[in-house]
Symmetry: C2
Amino acid sequence: MKRIALLVFAAATAACVTVSMPFTAGGADDEGSPVYGVKIPAGFREWSLINVAHEAADLNDFRVVLGNAVAMKAFQDGTLPFPDGTFIARLAWKYVPSEENNAVFGRAQSFVTGAPTNLEFMVKDSKKYAASGGWGFGQFTNGKPDDEALHKTCFPCHQPAIRHDLVFTRYAPSP
Amino acid sequence: MKRIALLVFAAATAACVTVSMPFTAGGADDEGSPVYGVKIPAGFREWSLINVAHEAADLNDFRVVLGNAVAMKAFQDGTLPFPDGTFIARLAWKYVPSEENNAVFGRAQSFVTGAPTNLEFMVKDSKKYAASGGWGFGQFTNGKPDDEALHKTCFPCHQPAIRHDLVFTRYAPSP
């Protein structure tokens, strides 16, 4: 039972590291995400870098977390809870070896992004999303929102990050 | 001899994936990088994401490549050579396991950024840097430019990317 719970939890966590979007219009997903009605925010790819991670095992991905200007100020100032208007995006790609880079380095050591996998968002709106800690969530695959069952796991799975306002990612200080 | 050349090449490539900065003022490095006079551009952390990679072995880092607006347009349009005013930044951090994330996933699978290592830039100015393919390069550790010997390796080490205007990184399409 515990093992099953962990697996469900892990799958959901893999899915929902992040979003929603009540403020601006955006992508091709007219309805937005189930449960939260989050849409893909226009211009998210121009947001700033918060951090990057690699999940091995089944996920085997690179994941980059970006934030809009409200998010970046909150991360840099250490503001908790995050203010309304915070948007956080999580972009993911398969983790693949780079033959081209390995040739340059002279040995097999380089891993780069392969095919895109999915896209996630968290958006803070403390009134609209009062029932989920103030956050709306959305996960999109090929520009379309994933299903309701997945979105029901987002809020519970973010509970381990409760002391950081449900956000797993920390800001990576610049070198 | 070939092995030594490869090692030198690998070390230099590790160092110089990227920059310089004749256009805007910035960090604490008043002189800029040796050979090129590249300085840390103000606001580079707000630039947009181009791609991410992991180098294993001795480097054992995460490296994120960001670009200014000129760079992003060129990457997205596939413009070659890159136009004057292109700035590319490479930020790197040690690659470390995350006990916190592993607890959430229920197994050891998560790797995140550790201590920052160094910061690199490439800037395109086809007149100023005519002798190095139009690119100026700079690498900075703790906000200070690294030494001249290192900077002399940047241009030769980028030669394998000659067909992509000396830029190794490609644009990662959004999920």
